[in-house]
Amino acid sequence: MRRGWLALGVVLLAAPLAFQDPFYERMIALVLLWAVLASAWNIVGGYAGQVSFGHAMFFGVGAYLPLLVYTHWKGAPVLGIPVGIAVSVGIAVLIGIPTFRLHGHYLSMATIAVAELIRLLVTNWEFVGAARGLGGPASGRTIWDFCYRSSIPYYYIFLVVLALVLGFTCWMEQSRMGYYLRAVKSGERAARSLGVSAPRYKLYAMIASAVFTSLAGSLYALMLGFVDPDSVFGILVSVQMVIMAALGGTGTLIGPLVGAALLIPLQTFANSLFGGQGNGLTFILYGGIIILLSRFEPGGLLEIWNHHLARKGRKGRTE
């Protein structure tokens, strides 16, 4: 198990060297960014079992704050990162408290609604650029602008953050909080009858999830240098986080990374190959994959891998 992680770490550290091409370097940087996002969602969606479809609200807040700092006060965008996290946590608490009283579909609906509401408000608010969005520094004025021509520095920054979020998830999994969350996930009423304060732990999970999502949003803004309401608050962002986690396997440590590692290249290549014709094939493929996944193996690819291992084990024993 330990060796597996070591091997993974080495692969991830060395990956940029294998691709001497800016397009691929950017692609793997995006893989890591989305792995961070999917892993952050996983904390509350996979481990706590609270399926949120509105995580874009944290991503968007995290993305907007650095560029707000730049646009209005010409400050270094990094200064906006802690502010973004604080605002996201505030939102998590504000909506978490009433929303976690809901269950199942109601919860998902509520998260979608709040995220959409925030998107609409941002679209009509002049101070944050309304529909025009906000731009970042065109080129790095100082090292603190984090403006790089190559994607490689971003890749390593994302890698550090991914290590952080996975580290946190691992710690949480083995801590009391993880224990309580598992209890809540498998049967909330039973857990509560045993004295587990479900709302409190769900809220903690949501806060942790919001922190990492917001951080990822800020890093995205640094890399792209531009944000607008649709690209960072849109429902597709939320859905994509969920799909990646689900593809790999929710509630597992490595599932989100697997999901991101598969989906981002798939999307990128599908668009590069077919997009130019403009017939929407990319989305048909994407949708088809989602349907097949949820129909045949909702546990995600890791579940398929586990079946495979189990079958190998059985075969070994009978022979």
């Binding site: 969606g45 399926v51 479809f53 009433p98 929303t99 009283r101 809901l102 199942g104 579909h105 109601y106 998902s108 609906m109 509520a110 979608i112 609604a113 709040v114 959409e116 509401l117 609409l120 408000l121 009509n124 859905v239 969920v242 799909i243 689900a246 929710t250 403009g278 017939n279 929407g280 094939l281 989305f283 048909i284 994407y286 949708g287 088809g288 994959i289 989602i290 349907i291 996944l293 949820s294 129909r295 909702p298």
Partner: protein
């Protein structure tokens, strides 16, 4: 009287919302499945109407009927091939599967029709009637009235016929229904067919006054969710009432507060309902 004009316009549109939301609430209440593709079923209804007019030169009655039948069958197929299995799995997989379905439906239509907007030929010339001091577009009036009638019809079907009570029985207690000799699978497929058919009819009606584009499902499904939540999951009369109310609120906030705020008000209401009274007006949690 502009206020009356706003009210009537809102109610007519609300009636159409009620029609396609009643199907959604039936599925939701019965099978606890969130159908993200519901807006795209409506979109398909629109395009079937368009094809019927362009290829078969069909009249309004024909294309509406055609939309209903085709979508009824599609609903059944989707149930048997996808929903039945996915229902047994985790909730996440259910939501994702209908989301994937929405994407596939949307972009398959996009493949064939690409991005150009089309409208039903001849609909630009639809006139209007004057009732007192207010003007009502004829397509909107017809759509609103038919939507209302059909929604009431669906409610009567569910509550006054044997078939309807069988469907409701399954939604209330699946095991008990099986014990009474009702086949739940069949009832659920039927419910899916009904829901899809009502979405299809709503689409055909909308096509008479709105333009057609493959991506229209995206915004329609969100409205449907609001209506269903407000009205109460599983309650068709609830969907009817709340559809009208939501249509009214939208129109009123657009006129009195500002057009950009109409969606803000609807979503804020949505959030408020979920927090304060998740079971909606007429639903049971």
């Amino acid at each position: 009287m502009i206020a009356l004009q706003v009210v009537v316009g809102g109610l007519l549109l609300g009636a159409v919302y009620a029609l396609f939301s009643s199907g959604l609430t039936l599925i939701w209440g019965m099978m606890n499945v969130v159908n993200f593709a519901h807006g795209d079923f409506v979109m398909l209804g629109m395009y079937i109407a368009y094809l019927a007019v362009v290829v078969l030169h069909a009249g309004p009655l024909t294309f509406t009927l055609l939309a209903a039948v085709v979508l009824f069958l599609l609903g059944g197929v989707v149930y048997y091939l996808l929903i039945r299995q996915v229902m047994r799995g985790p909730m996440l997989a259910q939501i994702l599967s209908t989301f994937g379905l929405a994407l596939v439906m949307r972009y398959t239509v996009f493949w064939f029709f690409s991005a150009t907007f089309v409208t039903l030929p001849g609909s630009a010339l639809g006139g209007n009637v004057k009732l007192g001091s207010i003007l009502i577009g004829i397509p909107q009036l017809v759509a609103g009235i038919i939507a209302m009638v059909l929604t009431i019809g669906m409610h009567l079907l569910l509550t006054r016929t044997t078939l309807g009570s069988q469907i409701l029985a399954v939604s209330e207690d699946r095991q008990a229904a099986m014990l009474m000799g009702i086949r739940p699978d069949r009832m659920q497929a039927l419910a899916w067919g009904l829901a899809s058919a009502s979405a299809g009819v709503a689409g055909a009606l909308i096509a008479t006054f709105y333009y057609l584009t493959p991506t229209v499902g995206e915004s329609l499904v969100l409205i449907a969710f609001v209506v269903v939540c407000f009205g109460g999951f599983g309650s068709v009369p609830g969907a009817m009432l709340s559809g009208l109310i939501i249509g009214l609120i939208q129109a009123a906030s657009a006129y009195y507060i500002g057009p950009v705020y109409k969606d803000v008000v609807v979503f804020a209401l949505f959030v408020a309902i979920l927090w304060v009274r998740p079971q909606g007006l007429l639903g049971t949690v």
